[in-house]
């Protein structure tokens, strides 16, 4: 999510239309975007795993009929914690820096929160300053650094967003371990 780029698209924020995943016809759009922009290659099964099981957590951004951004997520139990996970977030380069990614990911996080998630996690390359700033603004902390997480040898940060608990907080009472199952393994995700 780098800041400025020569080939910036000109558009009004109001021209961007956000839609929830609507079916198989959206799949090629998502795949094309992700394949184009992210380093890790995914098979069609990976996409289907996410969008079929959690269609309400995936969103697409359109500008005049063209898909310019997408977010793909999941949620589920993880060591006694109900946790959301952001698997992929992509905005086409000319459309970056205008809040589209923030809007996409915020929509997913909102659904996760309403669905009873206690926290949201994801991994991001340590070199991806744009993404780190974006998630930082949303309240994510860098919980841990994962040594050479990606196959290209780059470290990752595990980012985490903890939702406020409805009952009053008493610290030191969390009974679970907050480590990912996929810790230290080369993940296919993000």
């Amino acid at each position: 999510m780098e800041v400025e780029d020569k080939g910036k698209a000109e558009f009004e924020a109001s021209e961007i239309e956000y839609v929830s995943y609507g079916g198989e016809h959206h799949l090629p759009l998502i795949m094309k975007l992700v394949d184009q922009e992210l380093s890790e290659p995914y098979s069609i099964f990976t996409y289907r795993y996410f969008v079929y099981l959690w269609p309400h957590l995936s969103f697409l951004a359109f500008h005049k009929g063209k898909c310019v951004g997408t977010v793909v997520c999941k949620m589920g139990d993880h060591r006694h914690t109900f946790r959301g996970y952001i698997a992929m977030l992509v905005v086409l380069n000319p459309y970056r820096g205008r809040g589209i990614a923030t809007e996409l990911v915020s929509r997913s996080i909102k659904v996760m929160m309403e669905s009873g998630c206690e926290e949201v996690t994801l991994e991001a390359e340590v070199t991806n300053k744009g993404a780190l700033a974006l998630y930082g603004r949303l309240g994510f902390i860098r919980a841990k650094r994962l040594f050479r997480y990606y196959l290209n040898g780059v470290d990752a940060f595990r980012l985490k967003l903890l939702f406020p608990r409805p009952e009053p907080n008493y610290s030191g009472s969390r009974g679970h371990e907050s480590q990912g199952l996929d810790d230290g393994k080369y993940s296919e995700l993000t």
Partner: protein, 729 residues
């Protein structure tokens, strides 16, 4: 797959295929393509197969056959090593023209160096070093002495490195490193590699001598056959080969000397390190000659990416060959380091190893801790970290010679006699020794993994404290012997308990400061992090001081008895330098915390705001493990808020922490005069304090008046203590 027409004809699916795994009694190989094709026809777009054992998650790990990104069994060039050899991919000799032969061998040597460095940096052995076909068939090279001896020393070196890393087990996250199933890591006769290498080296040095000798003397040396046929290039090639062989020899010696027990080979290893570095220099120097006379004709641009000094593509390598063998290889190809980068990697590795070899094996535990922490600042790679760990912990003893109980007694400032006390037989005391060993091990791992492990072992240290308390009470109750023994036992218990607490806070501090090195904190979180560091430091200083007072107390009492002195001990009491240094850190942490708090309160910057949660959630997440272990008791988000909520620039100057820090740092110089590392640390702290003092004064004068001021925090003087930079935007 069977071809289409055959399938359509619906013939017997048991087609003649020659599988590498034979059919068994109850199993038979069958071609399922026709069945799959029929099933496909039944599926419409948008439909998925799901079954009890095949859900969407399982589908994700499905391989797409014939997709080069996923199908590691896909044949890229050759089916097998034998096929590659039959196709002439690794000829012996490499060329019948002996000059070309030598050039190609040098390319192989260089490419292997690039492979080896890439392996050390996280690549798999199968895809790097063992992509060399010559290495994979040890017996094939025997007719070629130079190639044969080189292959042997490479295999032996890899095997030595694998054993160091697997013995050290510092590679939790780098487990790909030691995987070598199916690779001929140890071939018959490889143990004699040094004598073979030596013989070849002798021959080539004679060849070098012969070609350099003046014409008159040549007659005597006539029986020396030159290395290759072009006599003008003889000297250059001899030198290029020699430095490469000698590097291998000395490097192997370094690896083996460093493995001698109790650090007994470190002196010798240092000498070999010097030789290694000098041979690496010669290798770099040989690059120009090799580029000028390369065998592959015209060179493309971008020599800096090349894996050989000459810039030529080496022959005899295929990184995809092993993907079909047992050794695990991710299907994706990896990018090898260039030859130049590989040389630089080895230079760095050797410098790191040299640091280890120069260590004095300080019997004081605190010294060992400081050594490993300082060593980590050089960001050593896996191999160097494995060596430092093996040096520190051998056979459950520090450096293989100091039993852990003796180490603990010394660390707890107990008198020499304590280390023989029976209390060491207590099970919990034994467990404490184990905790100490695992702490040392953890400190040798990469810092990312280390921090996570440290966070977890904090809990263990809290628990052992409670267990020790119970155990000591029981032990103490059992003692029925003489009162002097009772005295010593009580003393040991008291000292060890305080030391355990001190050590626990030390781990907590390391956990917190590593967060800076790993860039885990954002500027808006610095305030709470420095608050936490501040409260941990206070406890650490308290425990350290208590430990020292306790030991002074008893030694004083002893001397008092001896000399029957009536001198008042309270009057000449001075705070020990170690505690003062901690006090200095406390001031810096407090200063930063209050400066950040004032900026938040008055300038409304560096606040933790977000649409989904509050600062409290960030606090809980960052310090969860400390809170769980009650480190320290009562530390909470509310206490943090209470401490920082009222900080204002108007009140800060009255109590300027940075000035106090500067003062103490200056005073301490005399105490650490003969410890250059500590002196450097004092200087860094002084710089941080001084700069922040100036920044604070500036902020106090202009702070809220000038909203155009840009304030940032940078780690220019110290890795953990930031310096405020104030700029007008």
């Amino acid at each position: 797959m069977a071809d289409k027409s055959e399938a359509e004809r619906g013939e017997d699916p048991k087609v003649a295929i020659s599988p590498s795994i034979p059919s068994g009694n109850d199993t038979v190989w069958a071609d399922v393509s026709p069945l799959l094709r029929l099933a496909c026809n039944d599926l419409r777009s948008d439909e998925l197969i799901s079954g009890e054992n095949f859900n969407l998650f399982a589908a994700m790990s499905a391989l797409e056959i014939m997709d080069p990104k996923m199908d590691s069994g896909i044949v890229s060039t050759y089916y097998s090593v034998d096929e590659a050899i039959d196709s002439g991919a690794a000829p012996i000799p490499l060329n019948f023209d002996r000059t070309v032969d030598i050039q190609r061998i040098i390319d192989i040597m260089d490419h292997l160096l690039a492979c080896e460095a890439t392996w050390h940096k996280g690549g798999s052995l199968a895809q790097t070093v063992f992509s060399c076909i010559y290495l994979l068939r040890p017996e094939r090279t025997s007719s070629h002495a130079l190639l044969h001896s080189f292959c042997r020393v490479i295999r032996t070196t890899c095997s030595a490195v694998v054993s160091v890393v697997s013995d050290a087990r510092t590679n939790e996250e780098e487990d790909l490193f030691t995987m070598a199933y199916g690779l001929p890591l140890k071939a018959d006769g490889d143990d004699k590699c040094l004598s073979m290498l030596h013989a070849v080296e002798e021959t080539i040095s004679r060849q070098l001598k012969a070609c350099k000798a003046p014409l008159s003397k040549r007659k005597v040396l006539e029986d020396v056959e030159p290395l290759q046929t072009n006599l003008d290039l003889e000297e250059g090639f001899c030198k290029a080969v020699l430095c490469r062989l000698r590097f291998r020899k000395h490097f192997y010696h370094v690896l083996t000397c460093m493995r001698r027990p109790q650090g007994k080979g470190l002196e010798l290893a240092k000498k070999h390190i010097i030789s290694c570095l000098s041979e690496l220099d010669s290798m770099l120097k040989s690059a120009e000659f090799l580029r000028q006379h390369c065998a592959c004709g015209t060179l493309e641009d971008g020599a800096e990416d090349k894996t050989t000094a000459s810039g030529c593509q080496p022959i005899g390598f295929d990184s995809t060959l092993n993907s079909r063998s047992a050794a695990p290889t991710p299907p994706r190809s990896i990018k090898l380091l260039s030859w130049t980068k590989a040389v630089h990697y080895f230079q760095k590795l050797l410098h790191d190893l040299d640091t280890i070899c120069s260590y004095s094996l300080d019997p004081v535990f605190e010294g060992a801790l400081r050594f490993v922490v300082d060593f980590q600042k050089f960001q050593p790679d896996l191999v160097a970290r494995a060596y430092i760990q093996l040096l520190l912990v051998q056979e459950g003893k520090l450096y293989g010679r100091e039993p852990m109980f003796a180490v603990i007694c010394r660390a707890a400032l107990l008198p020499e006699g304590a280390k023989n006390h029976d209390v060491q037989k207590n099970e919990t005391v034994g467990q404490l020794g184990q905790l100490l060993i695992s702490l040392l091990r953890v400190l040798c791992t990469n810092t990312a993994w280390q921090r996570r492990k440290l966070g977890k072992i904090l809990q263990d240290w809290r628990i052992i404290y409670v267990q020790l308390e119970l155990a000591f009470r029981k032990e103490f109750g059992d003692i029925t012997s003489t009162s002097t023994d009772q005295d010593l036992c009580l003393k040991i218990c008291k000292h060890i308990l305080i030391w355990v607490e001190e050590q626990t806070y030390w781990i907590a501090l390391r956990f917190l400061v590593l967060g800076f090195e790993l860039e885990l904190y954002s500027t808006s979180e610095y305030c709470m992090v420095y608050w936490y560091i501040y409260v941990i430091l206070i406890k650490l200083a308290e425990k350290t001081h208590l430990k020292m007072m306790l030991s002074n107390d008893s030694s004083r009492r002893k001397s008092k008895k001896k000399r029957d002195s009536v001198k008042d001990v309270g009057k000449d009491y001075q705070i020990p330098p170690a505690v003062l240094l901690l006090q200095c850190y406390i001031y810096v942490a407090e200063g930063l915390m209050m400066m950040l708090a004032s900026l938040r309160n008055e300038n409304k910057i560096f606040l933790c705001l977000g649409p989904f949660n509050s600062e409290q959630e960030r606090f809980i997440q960052h310090f969860e493990l400390l809170q769980k272990a009650c480190l320290p008791d009562h530390a909470s988000y509310f206490l943090f808020r209470e401490t920082t909520a009222h900080a204002r620039f108007s009140t800060l100057p009255e109590y300027n922490c940075f000035k106090d820090a500067q003062r103490i740092a200056k005073e301490l110089r005399g105490n650490f005069a003969n410890d250059p590392d500590r002196m450097a640390e004092l200087r860094r702290i002084e710089q941080v304090a001084e700069h922040n003092c100036i920044a604070l004064n500036l902020l106090c004068r202009l702070g809220t008046l000038e909203p155009s001021l840009k304030i940032s925090f940078e780690f220019i003087h110290h890795p953990h203590f930031a310096v405020a930079a104030v700029k007008r935007s």
